[in-house]
């Protein structure tokens, strides 16, 4: 068990090992992921109410650090950054001089990863490392990542990890895992902590904790059991592949197209969406060129541009592509669903389009939309 002060010791132990510690912190009216240098920067006593298209920070009555679900950011930002330079090329007397390779960065420690975040990292691992060609930049960051997971003590209004089998308890993919236990009288948290890897064990040995009592272990189990009971959303996955791939002309696709902005927010906040584009630029002198990779989305026209035009000009085709790939053809391609039930796409859609509701409507009769 760790006390509140034990969290500070944990951050200190990670910093001493040379990690950039990335953790949840309050900024711009949300709990985001950012570099932290002290446990004091964690969102003490904050929570967030989430609904389709809406997120509001709220004060809690206690001093919980992890009394909220997921925020707008995910581990994707750390492992697969929004944009990165792949190459730079300079013209010289002898020809072209090419600089490539992965930029050296300090290793990162992610504090506060949720079970669905761990599942999302596992999905991105399959996509970016699993095939014949591993992505070297992703791999370099991934291999050095240290993960402190936190079991969920509070389900968000848009969470449905139980439906996707990814939470609310972490089972794998962490170095250390915490469960936050709140003293009901004093509102003070303490933390049940467990190591998942030798690296985690090593850090744990440095922390001044004490062994948990059987009552505390039981209380921690109750925390996640309670969270599992309070999911904000659910998604019925039975026969889903056929529902999505078997009805390309279902009227609901057209109906959702009248509401969808093709703004791409859903795909960019999704912790598993990995699509990107590669952009080449040259400077005015024509002596220097660069190649950049940046996040892209199946909601942009350029994304499906082939000679002469875009393959998916209609909103209907783009929304159908996103939902069908995410929940059905992803399984054909990577052996896992592309959705971990984090609810980010629901909360952060500016007009509150809810994938669980779209699936429900697509299960309905063709005319019910």
């Amino acid at each position: 068990m760790l006390t509140e002060d034990g969290l500070e010791a944990l951050v200190g132990a990670l910093l001493r090992r040379g990690y950039r510690v990335i953790g949840p912190t309050v900024r711009e009216g949300a709990i985001v992921l950012d570099e932290i240098s002290s446990a004091a920067e964690l969102p003490v006593g904050w929570t967030a109410e989430q609904e389709a298209g809406s997120y509001r920070l709220r004060r809690r009555a206690d001093r919980a650090r992890f009394g909220w679900a997921v925020g707008p950011h995910s581990a994707k930002r750390l492992l697969f950054p929004p944009s990165e330079r792949l190459l730079s090329v300079r013209r010289s007397r002898g020809g072209l001089v090419v600089h490539g390779g992965v930029a050296q960065m300090p290793p990162q420690a992610l504090l506060g990863a949720r079970p669905c975040d761990l599942a999302a990292i596992a999905v991105q691992d399959r996509v970016l490392l699993g095939g014949a060609w591993a992505d070297p930049a992703y791999q370099a960051r991934r291999e050095r990542l240290f993960v402190v997971a936190v079991n969920c003590g509070e389900a968000g209004g848009t969470c449905f990890c139980v439906s996707m089998g990814t939470g609310p308890a972490a089972t794998a993919g962490f170095d250390l895992v915490l469960t936050e236990l709140i003293d009901p009288d004093r509102g003070q948290p303490s933390y049940l902590i467990r190591a998942g890897t030798p690296a985690g064990q090593e850090v744990l040995a440095e922390l001044a904790g004490r062994a948990a009592t059987p009552a505390e272990v039981e209380a921690a189990a109750e925390v996640v059991a309670r969270t599992a009971q309070s999911m904000g959303r659910r998604l019925d996955t039975a026969g889903l592949h056929q529902v999505l791939t078997g009805q390309p002309e279902h009227p609901r696709w057209q109906e959702v197209a009248t509401r969808c902005l093709t703004c791409a927010n859903c795909t960019l906040v999704c912790p598993t969406c990995f699509c990107h584009t590669v952009e080449d630029t040259s400077d005015l002198s024509g002596e220097h060129a660069e190649r950049w990779r940046r996040w892209d989305s199946c909601f942009t026209l350029d994304f499906s541009y082939v000679h002469g035009g875009s393959v998916r000009p209609s909103v209907r085709a783009r929304y159908r592509q996103w939902l069908t790939h995410k929940l059905a053809t992803w399984i054909d391609q990577f052996g896992t669903s592309g959705c971990v039930g984090c609810g980010r796409c629901i909360t952060w859609c500016p007009v509150g389009i809810d994938i669980t509701e779209e699936v429900r409507a697509l299960r309905g009769p063709g005319g019910s939309a």
Partner: protein
């Protein structure tokens, strides 16, 4: 390696009805201006130099909209003199703020404002350059972003396609890691229907997007207007937000008309 052909490309900068802000973006490229001046021969740029070179030009940058009969003739001449013609800014690409006249009777304005209406030669509408001549590329923004301007000039000089994506401002907002003001504050934002380019400047300062870059590639303005209404916006406000710098852009014209009285 073959030596590059070293006749410096000749560039001209033209002004039509506009505030000069976009041309100033070019002057504002302080660090880059030397590189610009080294790479190209700025043969015609009255804003910056008294030198009035004659055509033809390899690249013409055109700022401003067409508002007078004289403009209509002059843009034809600019087109004839230019190998590539790139329009810059909301005036040149969508008619600018002065396109507000398109929704009113200009003759009536002239009668109210000027003593001698017959001295005033003006058109009923303010229109984008592309309504009059073929345009090779339209760079949006009010004002344009200087980084994008350098990208467009560099691309035309290198004979490649400019990297100027037409997706929503939201994409830039998310790349920057900014928290969405619409979702987290309930602040109405035009980002989802607005063309990227500014780097989501206003959301980074916790304000909604004003639509300076005009409509994005597939703007669903009706769905966004419905979202604004759920956040409490009323029709006069919706009319106003779609009638600003890009009032003359077709998707914004149609959306603003939906919120007119009556």
């Amino acid at each position: 390696m073959a030596a590059r052909p070293r006749r410096r490309p000749r560039v001209a900068v033209w002004k039509f009805a506009s505030c000069d802000g976009c041309q100033l973006s070019l002057l504002d490229c302080e660090d880059e201006l030397l590189a610009v001046a080294g790479a190209v021969d700025i043969a015609y740029f009255p804003e910056a130099s008294s030198r009035m070179g004659r055509g033809p030009f390899d690249l013409s940058l055109v700022e401003g909209s067409v508002t007078t009969p004289h403009d209509v003739e002059r843009i034809q001449r600019v087109r004839r003199l230019s190998r590539y013609l790139v329009t810059i800014g909301a005036c040149a690409t969508a008619g600018g703020i002065q396109a507000l006249r398109n929704f009113r009777d200009v003759k009536e304005f002239i009668g109210v404002v000027y003593a001698r209406a017959d001295y005033i030669g003006t058109l009923a509408r303010s229109s984008a350059i592309s309504e009059h001549v073929p345009v090779d590329f339209e760079l949006r923004g009010c004002p344009i972003n200087k980084r994008q301007l350098l990208e467009v000039v560099s691309a035309f000089l290198a004979g490649r396609r400019p990297t100027v994506p037409a997706h929503s401002v939201c994409v830039e907002c998310k790349l920057a890691g900014t928290v969405c003001v619409m979702v987290a504050q309930g602040t109405p934002c035009l980002g989802p229907v607005t063309h990227a380019g500014c780097g989501a400047l206003c959301p980074r300062y916790r304000r909604g997007c004003y639509g300076c870059y005009g409509p994005m590639e597939t703007p669903n303005t009706a769905a966004l207007a419905a979202g604004w209404q759920r956040l409490g916006a009323r029709r006069p406000e919706l009319l106003r937000v779609f009638r600003s710098f890009n009032a003359g852009a077709e998707p914004f014209v149609l959306e603003s008309r939906r919120h007119e009285e009556g």
